[in-house]
């Protein structure tokens, strides 16, 4: 992976009548990276992907791929290939002919064409099914055919439109690992559209989180999870305890905030910069607070009463009321030590990490 930009999206806007699907979106996608567009349905992520592939037009702005403007380049002449959400396997052709479809135009000769098809089928472990028709394939197999059919074209960029959404959970998790492995072995840029935050975090080098036609944050998975830039991003990526706080002095990238429950804390300014007065919120992830068992000590402790308990198998969520007038805290605790046995009403101590607090824009 290099820092060279493979795809440059500049001030791209898409309007359908009065509705703005994409609003001045700009982002650079690097050569060889696995990049995800993550967001709820209707956030514009699929529109952006289809624009990169050449299937949707831009109302304004520009997209460049490999340094070249895609302004007047139709989909069939772009250095991109797409894996469609429905897979779009040609039902009248068998697996090998589906994969060879795009090569036919290149007139490679029968031997070379067969070699390329075999190579692509081997990449997705489908060599044994080359004679099957689409109707005889399972969902997972169809997806592999769609992948092979795109990869055989040796595109600079592979676009994936929610490729795993139609698969069941187990197969989806297996395909996440395989897709990541495949991307690393072929080394080309992958752009994935998904609404599943775990999928985006597990597979990507970087994630762009989109809401309402705008990209709210672009960062590596850990960064985006640990330091979400806005309340929306934090919420979309998992649980977050929002804490009432009074914002104090800003010194460089440090801010002191005053909270009723946790006292005065020093935190970093939000990832997207310090917002105006009253526009910042403080939060801490539920798994960054833990139950302090009898005999244990910790530097920072807060006392409270368990008011609800939710069991999730590997973890238990405890809802803890810490003090009069404070918002209840959600604590995510692994079940190794018996968090699932703590009865509602128990008075407990919670240990927390002062560095785990994150300041976000509203």
């Amino acid at each position: 992976m290099s820092s060279h930009a493979m795809i440059e999206v500049r001030d791209v806007t898409k309007r359908y009548g009065a509705f703005t699907a994409l609003d001045m979106v700009s982002v650079d996608i690097r050569e060889g990276e696995f990049f995800s567009l993550l967001g709820p349905s209707g956030c514009g992520k699929t529109t952006l992907l289809r624009m990169i592939g050449g299937f949707d037009s831009l109302s304004s702005g520009e997209i460049r791929i490999g340094g070249n403007s895609m302004q007047d380049v139709p989909a069939n002449r772009r250095p991109t290939n797409m894996v469609f959400q429905s897979y779009a396997i040609f039902p009248h052709l068998d697996v090998a002919k589906n994969v060879a479809y795009g090569l036919k135009r290149q007139r490679l000769g029968a031997t070379e064409e067969k070699r390329r098809v075999d190579e692509a089928l081997a990449q997705v472990s489908l060599g044994h099914l080359r004679g099957r028709m689409a109707s005889q394939l399972s969902g997972g197999q169809r997806q592999r055919v769609a992948l092979a059919r795109a990869l055989v074209m040796r595109p600079k960029v592979l676009l994936l439109d929610e490729p795993l959404s139609a698969l069941d959970k187990k197969l989806r998790e297996q395909m996440q690992v395989e897709l990541r492995r495949l991307q690393q072995s072929v080394g080309i840029t992958f752009v994935l559209v998904t609404h599943d935050q775990y999928e985006a975090l597990a597979m990507s080098d970087r994630v762009a989180v989109m809401f309402g036609g705008q990209i709210k944050q672009v960062a590596a998975p850990q960064e985006i999870y640990q330091r979400p830039a806005t309340r929306q991003v934090a919420d979309f990526l998992g649980g977050m305890n929002f804490v009432d706080a009074k914002i104090g002095q800003v010194e460089g990238n440090q801010v002191s905030v005053e909270t009723a429950a946790f006292g005065i804390l020093k935190v970093q300014t939000p990832a997207n910069g310090m917002p105006g007065a009253g526009k910042a919120v403080l939060g801490i992830r539920p798994e960054r607070i833990r139950v302090l068992w009898e005999g244990e000590t910790a530097k920072d402790v807060i006392a409270g009463t368990v008011i609800e308990r939710h069991y999730f198998g590997e973890v238990t969520h405890l809802i803890v009321q810490t003090g009069e007038g404070h918002a209840p805290l959600t604590v995510s605790e692994t079940n190794d030590f018996g968090a699932d046995d703590i009865p509602v009403g128990t008075k407990i101590n919670l240990a927390y990490d002062r560095d785990a607090f994150v300041l976000m824009s509203e």
Binding site: P74, R77, F84, F90, Y101, G102
Partner: protein
């Protein structure tokens, strides 16, 4: 209760049987009298003969009329299917102003009384100074068959997954190549149905052919003219039998082919 149900079933079976008899007995009788050794189609039968088929084989104007019908029907089937594909594609893919009205106008010949259509076409063609011939018959038939073709083809295009065409474009294919390599093979079952429907409608169409045919009669027009002469009736019955057999064979072949094409492109879903 059981009793009522049994009676109901009995009546339903009787009704179905009567319906089938009413529908197919006259057709069956044509074939029977075609082999009857008598110039009058009446019972009792006068013995088996194939001489009417001999007469048929020896009557040149019949061959001419059959050939006329075949030419017109083939042209009509091809033309209304090609035009139908364009209409069906536009109607299912694009949104444009006046779409509903245009669709309504195109489908109108289906509900307008055919005699009105025939007379107005005749007047128009004479005004335009066109000579009545098989060409004018074919033109009328295309107009008349197009709605049938469109109905069949629109149903086919409606169930077509657009992302298949996008996938083809994505893989480097041009618009024409995509149509040729994806759309057309996928549409094959509907296209065969459209060809078949248009061919059949045109082949036995009488009113337009009668008005617009000039001195070139198609088969139905020729047969109608022959009915005035009692002596010619058995040969017409023989001709009817031949048409019947050919139609059934054609239907079987087309259905088999269509079914095969359909199985090839059918998805069983996820």
């Amino acid at each position: 209760m059981r009793m009522t149900r049994a009676i109901g079933r009995y009546w339903l079976a009787a009704y179905a049987l009567l319906f089938m008899l009413f529908l197919y007995l006259p057709v069956l009788l044509i074939s029977v009298f075609a082999f009857n050794n008598s110039a009058v189609p009446a019972f009792p039968l006068a013995g088996f003969t194939t001489k009417w088929f001999g007469t048929l084989a020896g009557t040149v104007p019949i061959h001419q009329a059959a050939w006329n019908s075949l030419k017109v029907a083939l042209f009509t089937a091809a033309m209304s299917t090609v035009l139908g594909i364009c209409v069906a594609r536009a109607a299912t893919r694009y949104a444009f102003r006046g779409k509903q009205m245009i669709k309504g106008v195109i489908m109108a010949p289906l509900i307008l009384p055919e005699i009105i259509v025939a007379v107005s076409l005749l007047i128009m063609m004479l005004r335009l100074g066109l000579e009545l011939s098989l060409v004018t018959v074919a033109a009328g038939h295309v107009l008349f068959c197009l709605p049938y073709s469109i109905s069949v083809l629109v149903a086919g295009f409606d169930g077509f997954d657009r992302s298949l065409e996008e996938a083809s474009t994505d893989l480097g294919e041009t618009a024409f190549g995509t149509f040729w390599r994806v759309t057309l093979p996928m549409m094959m079952p509907s296209i065969i149905s459209s060809l078949l429907v248009a061919f059949t409608v045109s082949f036995d169409e009488f009113i337009l052919a009668f008005f617009l045919g000039g001195t070139s009669p198609t088969l139905p027009v020729y047969m109608f003219a022959q009915l005035r002469f009692a002596a010619k009736l058995p040969a017409v019955l023989a001709l009817g039998t031949v048409i019947l057999v050919v139609s059934i064979l054609l239907l079987i072949v087309a259905e088999t082919y269509r079914h095969r094409a359909e199985r090839r492109v059918k998805f069983e879903g996820n």
